[in-house]
C-alpha cells in the first residue's frame, strides 16, 4: 500500500497543472512520503525521501540529485525536529509541514540557482502554502485507507 500510494502520488505530481495554478501546485509526492514517515517511521524514512526525490529528478529532467537532496533534508527535518508530529493537532501539523516545505523549497531554489539553472521567481516558494492546505486532506484520506488495511496487517507485520 505504501508503494502504491507513493507511485500514485508520483503520477499526480507529473500531471501538468493548469497554468494559473502552476506555482501553487502542491508537492503531493513529498507530502505522501512525509505521511508515511510520520506513520511508520521504521519502514519509510530518509532513504525513501531520497529515492522519491531522485525519481522526480529523473522524470522531470532536472539536474539529478537536487530534489533527492531536498527531499531527504525535509524528511530528516521531519524525523529530527518534528518527531512528535502525530500528536499535534491537524492545524499545528499543517503549519509544521508548511515550514518544512518552505525550507525545502528554498533549498531547491538555492541549489538550482547554484548550478546556473534557475532564474529569480519567488512564486515557486509559495507552493508550501498549498502543501499546508493539502496536508489535512492527505492525512485524513491516507489515514482512513491505513485504518482500513490495518485490521488485517496488525498481527503479522507491525
Amino acid at each position: 500500500m505504501v508503494y502504491g500510494s507513493l507511485f500514485l502520488a508520483l503520477i499526480l505530481n507529473l500531471i501538468a497543472p493548469p497554468p494559473v495554478l502552476q506555482h501553487f501546485y502542491p508537492n503531493i509526492l513529498l507530502l505522501t512520503v512525509m505521511f508515511w514517515t510520520v506513520k511508520i517511521p521504521r519502514m519509510v524514512n530518509i532513504g525513501h525521501g531520497f529515492m522519491a526525490g531522485l525519481m522526480l529528478d529523473l522524470l522531470v529532467g532536472s539536474t539529478l540529485g537536487i530534489k533527492a537532496f531536498a527531499f531527504s533534508l525535509m524528511v530528516f527535518m521531519l524525523t529530527s525536529a518534528f518527531s512528535k508530529l502525530e500528536t499535534y493537532s491537524l492545524l499545528q501539523q499543517s503549519v509544521s509541514i508548511a515550514i518544512i516545505s518552505f525550507v525545502g523549497q528554498i533549498v531547491i531554489f538555492w541549489l538550482e540557482h547554484l548550478f546556473g539553472l534557475a532564474f529569480i521567481d519567488y512564486h515557486t516558494i509559495l507552493s508550501c502554502v498549498s502543501d499546508m492546505v493539502m496536508w489535512p486532506v492527505l492525512w485524513v484520506s491516507l489515514g482512513f485507507l491505513m485504518r482500513f488495511r490495518h485490521v488485517r496487517n496488525t498481527n503479522n507485520q507491525l
Partner: protein, 299 residues
Amino acid sequence: MKQQDQYRGIPPSFRFFIAALLSIGLVLADTSLHLSKEIRVSVDTLMSPLYSVANSPSVLTSAMRQQMRTRYQLVEDNRRLQETLMLLKGELLKYGQMKQENEKLRALLGSPIQSDSRVEVAEIMSVATDPFEQRIVINKGKQAGVYEGQPLIGEDGIIGQITDVSPNMSRAILISDRRHSIPVRDIRNDIRGIASGTGQVDMLIMDDLPRNVDIQVGDLLVTSGLGGKFPRGYPVARVVEYSPDNGTGFAEVKARPIEDLNRIRYVLLMWPTEYFAPDGQNLGRESVNYIKNGVSLVR
C-alpha cells in the same frame, strides 16, 4: 524482523549524511561529467508508459470535449475549415509561381537555392511541471530519425529544439526556457539580435542592443538562420515592449512568442536541408511531408 531492527538502529543524522553525500555526488556527476545522459535515456524509455498515464487526464478531457460537440458546431467547423482550405489553396497557386521566380532570381544572383525540408508530426507526451524549466517530451525518438538540436515548429512559429533523444521519445527545450536563446531578425528592417527565454512562456527578451536601435512594438521577429540550428525565415515572436534606456546603456526588447507555448499539443519536427544537405539529395524523400513557408503539404 531482525533486519527491521537493524534498520532502525542507524541514527537519522547518519542516514541523512549518506543521502546528502549521494545527492551531492549525483549533482556533480550530472553537471560536470554528464554521466547521467545514458542513465536518463534508459530511464526515459522505461518510464514512457508513466508519461502516458500522467498525460491521460488532458487527453481524456479533450476527447470528451470532442464527443460533446454538437452537430451545429461540427457543421460550423467544417465550413470554416473548408474556407481556410480554399484560401490556402489560392495562396498556394501564387506561391508556386513565386517560388519559381525566386529560384530564378537566386540563380541569377548566384546564391544557393533553398530546398524544401522534411517534416514530421509528433505529439506531446508530457510537459515539465518543474517551474524552473520549460521542457516537453514528444513521442518520436531516434527510430524516427530525431537528432539532438533539431528544430521544432508549430503551426504558427518556432517552438524549441530537441535536447535528449531516446529510442522512442525525446525531450525538447522551449524557446521560452531560461537557458535557450535563438538568433532572430526583425522582418521590417533586417536588424539581427538574439532572443533569449525568460522562463515565462509568453516572454522572450533581447538585450544588449544599441540604444538607438530601430525596433518598434509590433515588429515580427523571424529566425535569421545564423547559428545553423534553425532554418531561416520562420516566425519566432512579436515585439511587445521596447525600452531604450533601462539604466544600462542598452535597449531592452521584450517579445511574445508567436506560438502559444502553453497550448501546443502537436509539434512539427523538422529536418532542415539548408545546412546539412545543401542539395537536398541525401535525405530520404519517401512518405514525408514537405513544408513550404509555413504551408505544409502532404505529398
